[in-house]
Symmetry: C2
Subunit: 107 residues, 2 copies
């Protein structure tokens, strides 16, 4: 069976999960304190957190019966790499335009 790795893009496609990441950018939070910021039930938040963890967006440290979530770089890097590919596209497009202009106006 394939390792159940998650699609980073699909994972951040969910607005609730993005909001969770935003909240965690301000502070490390437990599942419950995270859930306070949402309308959904705590188990729903718990599931989202598991997804975010599996996809490498957060790490979790167990302290007693609490679980502290904090941001983790891995997940973000995958997105970054993808965007950088297209950055290169725009850059090369700009370069082609330059060349074109230079050839059209060789004065």
């Amino acid at each position: 069976m394939p390792i159940p790795t998650l699609d980073a893009f699909q994972v951040i496609g969910d607005p609730s999960r993005r909001k969770m990441l935003m909240l965690l950018s301000a502070d490390s939070l437990t599942i419950n304190s995270l859930a306070d910021n949402f309308d959904m039930s705590r188990p729903a938040v718990s599931k989202h957190i598991k997804i975010l963890q599996t996809a490498g967006f957060i790490s979790i440290e167990d302290i007693g019966r609490e679980r502290y979530c904090s941001l983790k770089k891995d997940g973000f890097e995958e997105l970054q790499a993808w965007l950088e590919y297209f950055d290169a596209f725009w850059a090369s497009k700009l370069k082609k335009l330059e060349t074109l202009l230079n050839n059209k106006l060789p004065n």
Copy 2:
């Protein structure tokens, strides 16, 4: 009713749509020539294209009965802005670590 603007993150959450963007990074393509690269039906591709266009990832130029798709920056910029926010997070985290280390080892 709310303006049917699309969530850029949700839009690129779909692997097929990301593949379309990749294909368009190599060349401008018509709907049909795009569809050749996929297992799904042409109407399915057509829908994806409409979504990508609405979200600002591509622009479409009608030439006769054909529609040429090419990449458009707008959609990407929204993603970039989001990632940059978290870039700042990592940067500030690094800075805090530096400060911490400097205080702990003030020799």
